[in-house]
């Protein structure tokens, strides 16, 4: 681990300029991903750490149909927001099922979106083959011990999982990420924010170096919608998902008027299940529909021996959350 400079700018524009001009600089917010990678695992080297935790990017404000969440709002702060409880209950569930209370007091919403994979091969600098760390070097996970790895959007070059719980309901909701760079501001839907591994698994999202997430805009669910988040994991608590699913349904007279569905624990990116939504929309809220949606959502997985079990588990996770949210018995 090399030495780094620590700076704490007092305005957003200054911070953005500082990081944009220095290829070896990085923003530091909650630190629960970055300091782990820099100080403990030693797989990220930095020349300068730009602490943004005191910038005015914290807080939640409610509009008519959306919630605007400052990027430095912590996971616990977002979970405690009354509008989240009332109009985005599955966001609250996903938040409180993630990490631990200590980590949720530190980790920010912006940092949650940008969290790096928990793949042990990526996080072990003694492992030579990792296309995410060293493009072109190969993937040790594909032939190694893989359990907490992706089956959707994965390929032989990289099966690293995006382990966020929060991002699962956020992609289902069509949340929008607001970004500030030296050239100005822009907005990107979260569903278009992430980049699939392709030939360059090291490129994970559309951010240019120095661009800063300032705010996340989350559309509220209709008042009469029902939602839920189901997380399946190896331990009862404080564990990453093997599979998870976020669902929001608007049901009228036994028919699904509008479905939103996204998957966690299975994707190289938080996975919106659009084809499954299309199948659900207008269909009767019955088990047969749910199973058909699950089959569509898990079409063409890429599995290795350690992750093959996730295909059926993810399907059952989808069926279960749709049953729970709709109130239909199994």
């Amino acid at each position: 681990m090399n030495a780094f400079e620590y700076v704490r700018p007092d305005d957003v524009a200054g911070a953005v300029t500082m990081v944009s001009r220095d290829p070896h600089a990085s923003y530091l917010a909650g630190g629960t991903t970055l300091l782990d990678l820099v100080l403990k695992d030693g797989v990220v080297e930095l020349g300068r750490v730009v602490d943004i935790t005191r910038l005015p990017l914290r807080g939640i404000s409610r509009g008519d149909d959306t919630l605007r969440v400052g990027a430095l709002t912590t996971m616990e702060e977002l979970a405690a927001d009354p509008t989240v409880t009332e109009r985005l209950p599955f966001v609250r569930e996903a938040l409180l099922l993630g990490a631990s209370p200590q980590l949720r007091n530190m980790a920010t919403v912006g940092g949650n979106i940008l969290q790096r994979t928990r793949c042990r091969y990526f996080r072990d600098p003694t492992v030579a083959a990792c296309n995410k760390r060293a493009p072109g070097s190969g993937c040790a996970a594909v032939t190694g011990v893989a359990r907490m790895h992706a089956i959707l959007g994965a390929r032989a070059a990289c099966i690293a999982l995006h382990a966020s719980d929060l991002c699962v309901p956020l992609v289902a909701l069509d949340a929008v990420v607001h970004i500030q760079g030296v050239g100005g501001k822009r907005s990107v839907p979260l569903t278009e924010f992430y980049v699939l591994p392709g030939d360059r698994p090291d490129i994970e999202n559309v951010l240019q170096h120095g661009e800063l997430i300032t705010e996340v805009e989350v559309p509220l669910l209709p008042v009469n919608a029902r939602s839920g988040y189901l997380k399946v994991r190896d331990r009862a608590s404080y564990e990453f998902a093997l599979t998870s699913a976020a669902a929001a349904l608007l049901i009228e007279d036994g028919t699904i008027a509008r479905a939103r569905l996204a998957l966690g624990g299975v994707g190289t990116i938080p996975r919106r299940a659009r084809e499954a939504e299309e199948l659900l929309n207008g269909a009767p809220a019955v088990n047969q529909t749910f199973r058909a949606a699950a089959e569509v959502a898990l079409r063409d997985p890429f599995t290795v021996s350690g992750t093959a079990f996730k295909v059926e588990l993810a399907k059952r996770t989808i069926v279960r959350i749709l049953q729970t949210v709709s109130g239909v018995q199994s």
Binding site: F4, R8, G31, V49, P101, M106
Partner: protein, 158 residues
Amino acid sequence: MDIVSTLRVNRTERPFTADTRTTLLDALREQLDLTGTKKGCDQGACGACTVLLDGKRVLSCLSLAAQCEGREVTTIEGLARDGKLHPVQAAFIRHDGFQCGYCTPGQIMSAVALLKEGRAGSDEEIREFMSGNLCRCGAYPNIVAAIREVARLGSESQ
């Protein structure tokens, strides 16, 4: 690269000089001689290093000391007042809420925060909101009993 900074720990200003890479945990233990806060996994997985930062529980192993300048840090050494143990400390002793004791400062700091957060409504809730603190001796039932008792006594005294 060194930084010269001041931490406010247990209601006292504590100046220190350390490398920029120093975590809050290492600053407390190595610079300020506050060794009550323990280093377990040192990577955010076990909770042994839990302290309060501006009253909220955080992991000191994943915080830079430099980030904490001007903020109020409370460690296990800061809980007792006038020689009298904090009610959670006393309850851990009464209920034998530890065996080897290494995770205990983190367990107690987390429990103090949990009670303030109002998360002691049931044993199930206590277990869920203490899940960030691992105990390899397996003292969990007694830890839950200690927290349950303080929650009950607290609600009776109100």
